[in-house]
């Protein structure tokens, strides 16, 4: 059974569709890159999948883990194993990263009917994960994303992902705003979490991330649709030629 199965998905804000019919099947163990020009609907797809209340699906179906995704609240989706790394991570003043992650982890354990994690076990887990994604322990103590630099926020998303161990991660431009070293570290962190059991959707504008996190498939989104899919070479081709030829192809197809 596919981990995620999107069929004919449409949706957007209020009375305006931004996603105009998407079909996408993702199996465990796969990494799918989604590329496409600004404003093509990549982040909107992520938000609809994660359940943002401002966005609504207007057609199609999505099954996640065999369940009807739209029957699930955002937190149920998360606790079923979905994770959205935000293009613009949100600041949560006054709540330390570590405190928050423990709360999130416990919600997950509760959802699965497992006992809460002890303080000691959590500390050990946190230390292990900080090491894995090369996270500054100071950032784990500070309030979530508050006054973090742009790059630190992105790294924090990967840190959250490492702690929560999702089965489906949607990484929305996690590479943008990172310096060259940070990009390598983040890519390493992502790769560390790649297993045969989980899958990732990597939204990016740059081939560079895909040099490290090598995708199984590359999709191009344009005007709320996936207009082209291919293997990893497609990303190289886009890097070289830009999106103009895609536009032309779409228009030619009418």
């Amino acid at each position: 059974m596919a981990l995620l199965e999107i069929k004919g998905l449409r949706g957007g804000i209020r009375d305006q569709d931004i996603i105009n019919g998407i079909d996408l099947t993702i199996n465990r163990g796969e990494v799918h890159a989604i590329m496409g020009p600004n404003g093509s609907g990549k982040s909107t797809l992520g938000k609809i999948l994660a359940g943002h209340e401002e966005y609504a699906e207007t057609g199609g179906t999505v099954r996640f883990n065999g369940k009807d995704l739209f029957e699930l609240t955002p937190e149920e989706r998360a606790n079923e194993g979905m994770f959205l790394a935000f293009q613009y991570p949100v600041e949560i003043p006054g709540v330390s990263n570590a405190y928050f992650l423990r709360a999130a982890l416990n919600e997950r354990l509760k959802y699965r009917g497992e006992p809460e994690i002890s303080a000691g076990a959590f500390r050990r887990l946190l230390n292990k994960k900080m090491e894995q994604v090369d996270m500054d322990p100071e950032l784990a103590r500070r309030p979530v994303n508050e006054d973090f630099s742009g790059g630190e926020k992105k790294r924090n998303e990967i840190f959250h992902m490492a702690v929560l161990e999702p089965t489906l991660s949607i990484l929305d431009e996690t590479d943008s705003g990172l310096d060259i070293d940070a990009m390598r570290i983040v890519a390493h962190g992502i790769n560390q979490q790649r297993t045969a059991d989980n899958a990732m959707i990597v939204i990016t504008h740059y081939q560079r991330l895909l040099d490290y996190v090598v995708p199984d498939y590359v999709h191009v989104m344009y005007q709320g649709r996936i207009v082209k899919s291919g293997m990893k070479d497609l990303a190289l081709e886009l890097e070289e030629k830009g999106y103009e030829w895609i536009r032309e192809e779409v228009e030619a197809a009418g």
Partner: protein, 456 residues
């Protein structure tokens, strides 16, 4: 005031007059008799501050908090004996075992529930009634010297009926490492009880004191607490003061806290209000010596029909003093909040640094807040800033937390916690910090449970 009105107001406060007559009949030093009789006389003139009966400028202080119902209630003003054991107090316990603790039940000192352990030389921690017998020379120069009963009816009432409360004294250089916790408890043994707790905290030059003052109600019934606290430290003196209001659901909690600082003195006070049907705190500081620093912080949480009013006043009387004030409010249900922050900078109080901030988080569309800075600055070389915000929980923040698996309610609770957590995190004493942190978290959870129930 017309004669007719005066007549009404005397009858209105008949039980307070009776209590006064009883107290006056007891043996006491002449100076104390004098305080009580002057205060009673003044209370006779002022009565309770009921806005519609006041004239400018007093009226201004009471526009949003209506004490009419309280003024018209005939309270039972005598102390009420009640047996309490540790288990009844357990949910309201605070701090650590080693702390000095004084417990007053319905205005009566409970020696069974209180304990004062080893004290440094010259330091006094006792009930005020005991101190009046054993150390009148220490009490006399300070009692009723800072909280002026000529100015307000509530302080006059408390001073007229003052019998007991906490007395803490540290002489020149006296350092009280172990915090003192005074616990004023009201039980449901009598309806419509009124108590007048009085707290006096005095530190000499270079003294250092830590006091937690808490008010708890073990009943849902109506009752009145009218408390006055005076805190004065000498040159280079330090005091840390925490005030926690966990009054019962039917309570009216009226309080005046008066701080006085001399040269280089430091007082930090933190006021946490969550109990009571109606709360009004007046927290005032007078910076009387140069280079003194006062920190005046507060946190108020209200739900249902609760009303919570914090009036603060900082009086920069001399140059080179700093005042830092942050008050945060969390308002749920149909609750009402009031914040009025007065900063008065005298003409020669140059180089004053005064910062004030009031932030409010509205968890319900039916809650309301009146917030007002009131800066009166007569010096020209000063730094005075103030800010007030009123906001709601942010949908993007809620969504972010939900994508990490937190339920909508947990997300709201966590954000509410985060809204004010910085105030608690900054507190000086570890044990106070962790106790308040836990209390704050539980209160937020209770607020959200109250919300869920009211929705159903």
């Amino acid at each position: 005031m017309t004669e007719a009105l005066k007549q009404v107001s005397t009858d209105r406060y008949a039980s307070f007059h009776e209590a006064y007559d009883r107290i006056r009949g007891r043996e006491a030093p002449l100076w104390l008799h004098r305080i009580r009789s002057d205060a009673m006389k003044r209370f006779g003139e002022l009565g309770m501050p009921v806005a519609r009966e006041l004239s400018f400028p007093l009226k201004e202080d009471w526009v949003y908090t209506d004490l009419r119902k309280i003024a018209d209630t005939s309270y039972y003003a005598e102390p009420v004996e009640a047996e309490l054991d540790e288990t009844a107090l357990a949910p309201y316990e605070f701090g650590q075992n080693g702390w000095h603790r004084l417990v007053f039940v319905n205005g009566i000192y409970s020696s069974a529930l209180s304990r004062v352990t080893d004290l440094p030389r010259g330091v006094v921690v006792s009930s005020l009634a005991d101190a009046l017998v054993e150390h009148p020379d220490l009490v006399h120069p300070h009692l009723a010297r800072y909280a002026d009963f000529e100015r307000t009816g509530l302080t006059a009432l408390n001073s007229a009926l003052l019998e007991d409360g906490l007395f803490v004294y540290a002489p020149h250089g006296g350092i009280l490492e172990t915090p003192v916790h005074v616990h004023y408890v009201t039980t449901g043994h009598k309806t419509l009880m009124a108590t007048q707790p009085r707290t006096l905290i005095v530190g000499g030059d270079g003294a250092n004191l830590k006091v937690v003052e808490s008010y708890s109600g073990l009943t849902e019934q109506s009752y009145l607490t009218n408390a006055v606290t005076e805190i004065a430290v000498g040159r280079d003196g330090h005091a840390e003061h925490y005030r926690i209001n966990r009054e019962g659901a039917g309570a009216a909690h009226l309080s005046t806290t008066q701080l006085r600082l001399e040269e280089n003195g430091r007082i930090s006070t933190f006021n946490m209000s969550m109990g009571g049907a109606l709360t009004r705190n007046d927290t005032n500081a007078r910076l009387a010596g140069e280079h003194a620093v006062v920190r005046m912080n507060g946190l108020y949480l209200a739900a249902g029909d609760q009303h919570v009013d914090n009036h603060t006043a900082i009086d920069h009387a001399v140059p080179n003093c700093d005042s830092y004030e942050v008050y945060k409010g969390i308002l749920e249900g149909r609750s009402r909040g009031v914040f009025n922050g007065k900063v008065f900078v005298h003409q020669d109080a140059q180089e004053t640094d005064a910062k004030q901030l009031n932030k409010n988080l509205m968890l319900s569309p039916d809650a309301m807040i009146h917030t007002k800075p009131q800066l009166e600055i007569y010096a020209d070389q000063v730094k005075c800033t103030h800010g007030a915000t009123v906001g709601q929980l942010d949908e993007d923040q809620i969504f972010y937390l939900r994508t990490r698996g937190l339920s909508h309610d947990s997300a709201c609770n966590l954000l509410t916690y985060g809204f004010a957590a910085d105030l608690i995190r900054r507190l000086g004493i570890d044990a106070v910090r962790s106790s308040l942190d836990t209390l704050f978290e539980t209160t937020i959870r209770d607020l959200s449970m109250a919300r869920d129930q009211s929705v159903r």
